[in-house]
Structure formats: C-alpha cells, structure tokens
C-alpha cells in the first residue's frame, strides 16, 4: 500500500501526489445549423446537442515536489483536467486520487490542502486591499497566527509587495495583482498548487519575479506545482517534466530533456558569415531561414552526419561563426500540436 492511501493529506517524499487514471469528461454543447434568426427561434423548440470529449482517457502521475508543466494548444483540455483535479468539475468517468482524496466528492475538506491560481480569474476582493483578502483566508483555512505573520513577512520581501498590500485591488496593476494572487494560493502552505496560466499578460520583469517565486516555494517547502502555460520559457525555466495534452488526450509525457531530444536525428546548424552571401550559394544546403549575413540549416542525421555537413559549409561558405543545436523546444511543441 502506498503512503498516499494510508493517511489523507500527508505524503512521504517522492511518492505520487496525484494519480489520474483513464479520466474522461464530456460536455453537451447545443448545436445550431446556422446563424440566422430563424434557426435561433427553431432552437427554442428543438435543440440539438453535440457531445464534446474535452478530456478523453487521460492517465498520468505526478510525484511530490515536482513542478509539472501541463501544456497544449487552446481548447486541448488542460483547464478541464485542472478543474477536475481541483474539485470544481465532476469527471464523466475515470479515477483521480490526489493525496488520498477524490477531489469532487470531498471538495470542502480537500481544497484546504491545495492552492489554486487561475490567471484569468481573481480570488481577491476587488474593492478592498489585498491584506483583507489574506486575512479572510487566514480565518477560512484556520492558519495559526505565527504562521500567518511569518508568511506575510516572507512574501512581502520575496515579492516586494509591502507597499501594495494596503491599496485597494482595483488600483493595482496586473503584475501587482498577480503577485497578490500568488500569495493567496500559497498562504496556507498547501502541499500542492495548481497554476493555470499564471504569467498571462505579464511583462518580462513580472514574469521573472513570478518564476523566481514558484521556484523558491518549490525548493523551500517542497511544494508540488502543476503549471499550465502558453509561454514555453516558463516551462524551460521551471519544469523537469511536462505533459502535453492535445484534443483531450496525452501526446507526450516525459522529462524536458526528452522534449529537447524529441528529434534525435535532426540538428540545427546556425551560421554567421564574414561577407554577404547570395542565396544561390546557399541553395545546395536547403536553408530553413536566411539573410545575407546569416543562415539556418537543418541536418538530417540519417542522410549525412554533422561533421560532413559542417565541413562542406566551411569549404563553400565564408563562415565566421557556427553553432550546432538540437531542434528548439518551440519547434518540437509546434510539431506535436499539429501532428494530431
């Protein structure tokens, strides 16, 4: 028997904190044949529905202390999966075990042990300063005085929010508000935090702060984070493992390194030239991108090894600088998204 099922809410290190098995969720969506007024009126009397499989037979596990990236194109089923795991939605079928809880059945008790942040929604009271929302959470989650004080002081310093927590939320910038949303999601020291697009709309500096924050909490408190994002630099900076969802199913579930080596037979060679080069000189190498001073080539290792390819370039082109890289993560992700 594993440690999770023995005691709810308490898990040993490096055991599975989340186990998802054959999870499905379907939605019934009303269907209208066209956009005319007549069809609207018809729909009043007889409405047809189509069933959409938002999540279709998903299985995965997450270990305690992990920062797991959950990525996929819009409408892939990421948010639905997060909402089921956080207890908001009932699944249509399948099993989810999070720290021994079935989230949707024991929701009120379960949510005390998790933190959630939806980048597009707010947990702060709009008309009040964030400190009032923090204090409400102290009472709702029954956070002891000394823990509350210690955490507020800690977050004030880490996120540089001492000035803003006493201003009404409506007067805060998006970046400032997001920092306070983060405090809301981890103030009660949950062992597991779900972050749904936490860096959406943030500038580079705020993004950096937010990433530093996630990383610090993960290291200091061994908090597990599940992170969905469209910003691949979030993934590259934070996640060891990623799960890619597309059309409701998992299409990739492995370490970040696995994603970097997704195309082991392909290398990207980037060349800088000493003098301008005409396109016809590059043509035999089939450049993927090009301007007169630099070019990028893709080498298929099953046809020719890197050494031969690079040697030929040195022979034929005025090379000033050369870089050999794996196919970028962005390219890999684009490939995974579109191949389905």
């Amino acid at each position: 028997m594993n440690a999770i099922t023995m005691q709810k809410g308490v898990t040993a290190q490096k055991t599975d904190i989340i186990q998802v098995k054959n999870l499905c969720r379907t939605f019934k969506v009303p269907k209208r044949s066209d956009s005319g007024l007549l069809s609207s009126i018809k729909a009043l009397f007889h409405r047809e529905y189509v069933t959409v499989n938002a999540v279709n037979d998903i299985s995965f596990t997450v270990k305690k202390g992990e920062i797991r990236g959950l990525i996929g194109p819009n409408g892939a089923g990421k948010s639905t999966t997060i909402k089921i795991m956080s207890g908001i939605l009932y699944p249509s079928s399948g099993e989810v075990d999070v720290m021994g809880y079935k989230p949707w059945l024991e929701r009120e008790e379960y949510v005390k042990h998790i933190g959630v942040l939806f980048g597009q929604r707010s947990q702060l009271e709009w008309d009040l300063p964030p400190i009032d929302s923090f204090y409400l959470r102290k009472k709702l989650y029954d956070i002891p005085d000394e823990v509350y004080k210690r955490n507020i002081e800690y977050f004030k310093e880490l996120l540089d929010i001492a000035e803003i927590i006493n201003k009404p939320v409506r007067q805060l910038s998006l970046g400032e508000r997001m920092k306070c949303e983060f405090v809301c999601s981890v103030l009660h020291e949950p062992p597991l935090v779900f972050l749904d697009e936490p860096t959406i709309g943030l500038d580079v500096v705020s993004k950096e702060t937010v990433r530093g924050f996630i990383s610090a909490i993960n290291k200091e408190k061994n908090t597990t984070f599940i992170l969905t994002t469209h910003d691949l630099s979030d993934i590259e900076n934070l996640c060891e493992n990623i799960t890619v969802i597309n059309n409701g199913t998992i299409v990739f579930d492995d370490g970040l390194a696995g994603l970097q080596e997704y195309f082991p037979k392909r290398k990207v060679v980037k060349v800088q030239f000493e003098t301008p080069v005409d396109y016809h000189a590059l043509e035999p190498f089939h450049p993927t991108s090009y301007n007169r001073m630099k070019a990028e080539f893709e080498v298929d290792l099953s046809e020719c090894d890197v050494k031969t390819a690079v040697n030929r370039m040195f022979e034929c082109l005025p090379v000033a600088d050369i870089n050999i890289e794996s196919v970028s993560i962005e390219e890999v992700i684009r490939h995974i998204y579109t191949e389905q």
């Binding site: 909402k83 207890g87 939605l89 009932y90 929604r121 009472k139």
Partner: protein, 266 residues
C-alpha cells in the same frame, strides 16, 4: 464560526466604502411619505372613516414606510451574484473555498444588511418619526417585529439563493428575478395590504411564503388588531420556521444537483 464572522466583517468593510448610495434612500423616502400623508389624509377625511380595512390613518401611512423598512432588512443580491457567477464561470472560484457557497453568501448578506441598518434603517426611522410620529408602536410590538423580520430575512435569503441557481437551467436569470420581485410585491403584501384582496385569494396566499416576509412583520410593526389576536405571533413564527426548513432542504438539494452539472467555462 470564526470564518463565518470574518465573511460578515469582510462585507461590511466593502460596504462602508459605498454608503452614499444607501443614504440616498433616507432622502428619497420622506418624499414618498409626504405623498402618502397627503393621499391618505384626504382619503380618510373624504370617507369620514376612522379606519379603512382595520388600519387607522397613522398605520396606513406607515404601512408603506414599514414595507420600505422590510426591504431594507431582508434585501440581498444573492440571486444576482450567484446567477452572474454561474454564467461567467466565476463560480469556479467559489468552489475552491473551504466553505460552502450557501454559508458564504449568507455571511455576505448579513454583512450587507448590518451596514444598511446603520445607513438606512436607523436614520430613516428618526427622520420619518419626525414627519409623522408612529404613535401606534409599543415595546412588545417592536420586539415581535424584530423576531419575525429576522425570520423573514432568512426566508428571503433562501428564496434568492434558489432563484440564483435557476441560472444553471435557464442560462439567463433576468426573468426569474423579475417574477420573484413581482410575487413578493403582489402576493407578499409589499404593494398594497392583503386586506384589499378577495377573501379566497387571501386564504390561498396564506399557504405561500411571501406574506410571511412582508405582510406579517408589517402587522407586528404597526401593532394591528390582527397581530394582537391570541396566538398570532407564535403561529407566524412557526409557519416561518416551517418554510425555512423546507427551503433549506431545497437549497441543499438543488445545490448538490447543480454543482454536479457545473461546467466552468473559460
């Protein structure tokens, strides 16, 4: 319980920032009262009547002010709040709170009314008493009013909670809210005293919850003959309690069903 009080406090903190809106009613209501004074004084003197349908002139004038007071005490935004949050998907955030929505919204409604008590009811009572002194009041009648109006608050809250959940089925809640307010006004006696309705209608209305929100608390406030009938107070309280039990059961049942079908857009 500690967290419930904190929710009430939170709402008060929010409301005190917008007290101006509430205070406007203290300025508007005296005008309505002056119109009622002119209307009913001429009506009573034209008919040469001491009482109409059991109400003397002072009680009749104050009937409509009492209606306003009851609205001040029982009013809440729960139906709007819940239906809007269902339709926008914001309800997802409510479901992440370790407190059920019924309790949380109840806390907010209580906080909202505590603010109104100090910004609308007490100043109003003072101003209206200066315009037309409520000589019909007595201490027991006031105490009975307080008890019944508190029960009315709970009834109103539960009806609003249920009306809010209708958004799960209807996807738009304006019609339900409109119908609900109309029922309160017409069938609850907030529009005109129920004595003006046919006997049969009055008998039927006694089986609905609405008159226990408006008509009966008003009777105790006005210290009318009906409110002083033997056993009237206990009977009204018992019926209010019975409705509260029924509506509470309905609230729980509907919430359980509805939350299963919540699909949290966005």
């Amino acid at each position: 319980m500690k967290s419930f009080f904190e929710v009430i406090k939170l709402e008060i903190k929010e409301d005190v920032q917008y007290t101006f809106g509430f205070m406007i009613s203290v300025a508007v209501q005296p005008i309505i009262m002056l119109i009622n004074i002119a209307l009913f004084t001429s009506l009573y003197s034209y008919n040469g009547a001491e009482t109409i349908k059991g109400y003397d002139l002072g009680q009749m004038i104050w009937y409509f002010t009492a209606t306003h007071f009851i609205w001040v005490i029982v009013f809440n935004f729960t139906d709007h709040r819940i239906s809007e949050r269902i339709l926008s998907g914001e309800l997802a955030m409510d479901m992440l709170r370790p407190m059920d929505l019924f309790t949380y919204e109840l806390g907010l409604s209580i906080g909202l009314r505590i603010t109104a008590l100090f910004t609308e009811l007490l100043p109003g009572l003072l101003v209206y008493s200066l315009i037309y002194f409520p000589s019909f009041m007595s201490l027991p009648s006031v105490l009975k009013f307080i008890c019944t109006v508190l029960m009315a608050f709970v009834l109103m809250y539960m009806i609003n909670f249920l009306a809010g959940l209708f958004a799960f089925i209807l996807k738009s809640n304006a019609a339900v809210t409109g119908i609900k307010t109309m029922l309160m006004m017409l069938l609850g006696g907030s529009y005109i005293p129920l004595e003006f309705y046919p006997q049969l209608a009055v008998q039927i209305l006694a089986f609905l919850p609405f008159e226990y929100i408006f008509y009966w608390p008003i009777q105790f406030f006005l210290n009318t003959a009906a409110s002083n009938a033997p056993g009237a107070f206990i009977r009204v309280l018992a019926i209010q309690a019975a409705w509260i039990v029924v509506l509470y059961g309905l609230c729980r049942l509907c919430w359980r069903q509805a939350s299963r079908h919540f699909c949290a857009v966005g």
